[in-house]
């Protein structure tokens, strides 16, 4: 099967970036083309992620999908005292997904998904003015989700999956000291954590469908991560290499979606999500070595909403066209805005298409253009200080996927 051939290649590619906070909403190219909505729809094997409850409503016995996106994102910072503008030089992010959904019986389905719903790769450079907050950060989380789904009635399906999450963080940051201009610390750690993804799907009529999903919070608890200090000789005895503990919460998300098949050609959908970012109160690095001062970084994120709308136009048996728009509210308050997660209210504009040469096989394309609203925000730094200015961002994200259903 194509899926098994491609899968090892894709997992070796580094990934990720972007949406509210460090959420990455690119879990299916069909959905991305429609403003990344799919909770109330049955678009393919990616239902494993979008709504496990709708897996039993797929047409074919076996559905599979695989794909990825290429995130080119740029963030700019303008210091409001000096007027100097600095920009990130982020590597290309490549989130990916692979899904399979199999109808074991008419009522019972099983499936598996591998996807990357959280992550961030931000590189401001070693020398930039906010280097004491962050130089570069790479945050990765790969979710593996075995899933079962049950059609309670012809119209109602419920499904749930276990999230096995492989999470890792690596960051570099400069250290403020009266001595030495190149004091830096590299922190890295990885762990495996658990969560779940559950969904309810209701095919109210031939035209109207509803979906409700809940993806649980996953706490990425890093224990004994490596903290490597590269400091001036005068600081070397107080800041030796050591280990650290830290916890990064990946927030829970509840989503309600509605789909409406207007006619043979037009499908419209709207969806709303509540992301419980308030779980992210602080990012604290607790160092094992006694003389290394622990690093406490208040985040105090607030819950945020995402509103999505999208349409699909079936031009022919072989061609689907899609477009969408979404508003993704930033969970970050102005007084706790760190350039490690330079996120503002995002407006996403999407286009997509599927080419289906045969009934079984097709190519799914999408493009997402994100405009991050200009915002003036500051992060706490040092003893009662603040670092910040104006931030703005743009992301351009083309994606490609394959589906194979039979």
């Amino acid at each position: 099967m194509k899926k098994t051939l491609l899968f090892p290649l894709l997992t070796s590619i580094p990934m990720l970036m972007f949406a509210g906070g460090f959420q990455v909403n690119l879990q299916g190219n069909k959905q991305t083309g429609m403003g990344h909505l799919g909770t109330g729809l049955t678009l393919g094997a990616s239902n494993v992620y979008f709504n496990p409850g709708s897996m039993g409503f797929l047409d074919k016995k076996l559905s599979s999908e695989i794909g990825g996106s290429f995130i080119s994102s740029k963030v700019a910072f303008q210091d409001q005292s000096t007027g100097i503008t600095e920009r990130t030089d982020n590597p290309l992010g490549t989130p990916f997904y692979a899904y399979a959904s199999y109808k074991v019986t008419e009522k019972f389905s099983a499936g598996i998904g591998v996807y990357t719903p959280f992550g961030s790769t931000v590189d401001w450079g070693k020398e930039w003015s906010g280097s004491k907050l962050i130089q570069d950060i790479s945050l990765r989380a790969i979710f593996i989700q075995p899933t079962v789904s049950y059609k309670i009635t012809d119209k109602i399906g419920f499904g749930a999956g276990l999230n096995i999450v492989s999470g890792s963080v690596e960051l570099n940051r400069a250290i403020d000291s009266p001595v030495g201009n190149d004091n830096t610390v590299n922190l890295q750690g990885s762990t495996v954590a658990l969560g779940f993804n559950a969904g309810l799907y209701i095919q109210a009529s031939e035209k109207l469908s509803f979906g409700l999903t809940y993806r649980s919070q996953v706490d990425v608890e890093l224990t004994e991560g490596d903290a490597n200090f590269n400091v001036h000789p005068a600081l070397a005895t107080t800041l030796p290499n050591t280990t650290f503990d830290a916890t990064l919460p990946l927030p829970a998300t509840a989503t309600l979606g509605i789909g409406y098949q207007v006619n043979d050609k037009w499908l419209v959908s709207v969806e709303g999500s509540l992301v419980q970012w308030s779980a992210y109160e602080s990012l604290d690095f607790d160092f094992a070595n006694a003389t290394t001062p622990d690093s406490k970084n208040a985040r105090n994120y607030e819950d945020a909403i995402i509103v999505r709308t999208g349409v699909q136009y079936t031009a022919s048996e072989k061609l689907d066209l899609r477009a969408g728009f979404y508003y993704d509210q930033s969970p970050i308050q102005d007084d706790y805005f760190s350039p490690e997660t330079p996120n503002s209210d995002n407006y996403g504009i999407t286009l997509g298409a599927s080419f289906n040469p045969t009934e079984q096989f097709g190519i799914d394309l999408s493009t997402l253009f994100i405009i991050g609203a200009e915002r003036e925000s500051y992060a706490p730094i040092g003893d009662g200080g603040r670092f910040g200015g104006k931030y703005a961002s743009r992301s351009f994200i083309p994606g490609i996927g394959l589906h194979y259903n039979f």
Partner: protein, 472 residues
């Protein structure tokens, strides 16, 4: 057809604003009643950007006038030229020191070294690299005039002193003076400045202080002379209705140069206490004999008696103001008192291994005695009165560097980072203990900005001092 439309859209998104931009791309600030079109800065090493015992390219780039010029540029400020070093002198780690004029010397850095007892520690040392003597002091006058007329070593009188830019004068100024007879003031006025900064007078008392007062052979400028010269200078600068900011003189006895080596720096153990006290028993007895003859001498005898005890001891020094008892075979010895100062340049090995401060008095060039400190602080007070009056009389912004220096004693928090006047760990001073480091200069530049905004109703932004380099 549809397929082709879709393909057109892809390159379109690529070209439309993939690069984030700001509404106010060129951050604009207002100049108020000031006009920053042509600015000029006059002063000494503090204006040139001298730090770590040398003038370096890094110091020049982070000098107060350069920091200010970049902020003025957002408020209508024009081009600003500093007489930058180039070539080897422009490299990081190199600098040109007053100690060896014309020679490239390595800047001070915190490096490991071994003392006379074989104990290693990290402290301020020259990095030991050899820099070739080159064309560092070749004239760059043809590239001038320069807006930063800061000349290390300049006293007030040198500002309008013909010949200061000649081979007989100051090589730092000779480099960029338009002619050997052009004065610093003439150089500044040749720019036809619309705005000036003036920070001068530190060296009129500093040289006396850093060389230990009377013993150093460097004198304090007389207060009357200072007033006359200062007012002349300001009058010349405002003659063409230029606006400006003038800075006063910080109390220099509070810089790390005088507050790092404590007056009671000598730890003595039990055995040595007995030996030392025995050695001074005759001296102390001699003082008692004088008191027996002249009871009025008792307070001075008390001051002069040498008493060592277990723990930290005040250093033994010679005080020329004491009554001359050499006829009785008694030298002018006493121990330092609390409040008297020791310079950073006192050789530590001489304290540790050569008996300085115990068996041998510490040479006066390393010591400020209380009467010398009084002279210094009286001079600074009178200079600052002159500067304050000149600011008032001419409607100029007064930069109260003296007050800021006092605040630094207890620590100032700039945007989350605390700075103090403590050597090395305080974060504001360079390793010479006299001059600020680049962050310290940025803090002072912010002080200029505040005074200018207050006086002229301008809106020039402060800089982020924490983002500037610190000591290495």
């Amino acid at each position: 057809m549809k397929k082709r439309n879709l393909l057109y859209i892809l390159p379109l998104i690529f070209t439309v604003g993939c690069e984030p931009e700001f509404d106010d791309v060129n951050l604009t600030r207002s100049n108020g009643n000031a006009d920053f079109t042509r600015t000029v800065a006059i002063g000494n090493s503090l204006t040139a950007g001298y730090q770590g015992n040398a003038l370096s390219r890094e110091g020049q780039e982070n000098s107060i006038p350069e920091i200010l010029a970049k902020q003025f540029a957002l408020a209508g400020g024009g081009e600003f030229k500093s007489p930058y070093f180039t070539g080897e002198a422009g490299e990081r780690g190199a600098g040109i020191s007053e100690i060896s004029l014309g020679l490239l010397t390595p800047s001070l850095a915190l490096l490991s070294g071994t003392d006379c007892n074989g104990i290693s520690s990290i402290g301020p040392r020259y990095n030991g690299k050899k820099y070739p003597t080159g064309d560092n002091f070749n004239s760059i006058a043809s590239q001038g005039p320069f807006n930063n007329v800061g000349v290390p070593g300049a006293r007030l009188i040198h500002i309008n002193f013909p010949g200061y830019g000649s081979s007989q004068g100051n090589p730092y100024f000779e480099r960029f003076a338009a002619s050997p007879t052009q004065t610093m003031l003439e150089h500044a006025i040749s720019i036809n400045p619309t705005f000036f900064t003036l920070w001068i007078g530190n060296n009129d008392v500093l040289g006396y202080a850093t060389s230990g007062g009377e013993e150093g052979g460097d004198s304090i400028t007389d207060a009357g002379t200072f007033a006359a010269l200062y007012n002349q200078t300001v009058s010349a600068l405002v003659a063409d209705s230029a606006k400006g900011a003038i800075a006063n003189i910080p109390d220099i006895t509070s810089i790390p140069f005088f507050n790092t080596v404590p007056a009671n720096a000598i730890p003595i153990s039990g055995v040595n206490v007995a030996l030392l006290n025995a050695a001074y028993a005759n001296y102390n007895a001699g003082l008692d004999t004088v008191v027996a003859q002249n009871p009025a001498f008792a307070p001075e005898a008390e001051l002069r008696k040498i008493r060592f005890s277990i723990g930290a001891n005040y250093m033994l020094v010679t005080d020329p103001t004491l009554t001359d008892l050499s006829g009785s075979g008694l030298p002018n010895y006493r121990q330092l008192k609390a409040g008297e100062l020791v310079t950073l340049t006192l050789p530590q090995d001489s304290l540790k291994c050569a008996g300085w401060g115990t068996r041998v008095p510490v040479p006066g060039q390393y010591i400020l005695l209380s009467h010398e400190i009084d002279k210094i602080s009286n001079a600074v007070t009178s200079y600052n009165t002159v500067i304050e009056n000149a600011a008032k009389a001419n409607g100029l912004a007064l930069v109260d560097a003296n007050k800021r220096m006092k605040e630094l004693q207890s620590g100032i928090n700039f945007n989350g980072t605390t700075y103090t006047a403590t050597f090395v760990t305080g974060g504001a001073f360079s390793l010479d203990g006299v001059h600020p480091n680049s962050r310290g200069y940025a803090i002072i530049a912010n002080l200029f900005i505040d005074a200018i905004n207050e006086t002229y109703g301008s809106n020039v932004s402060q800089v982020n001092a924490n983002a500037y380099p610190t000591i290495e």
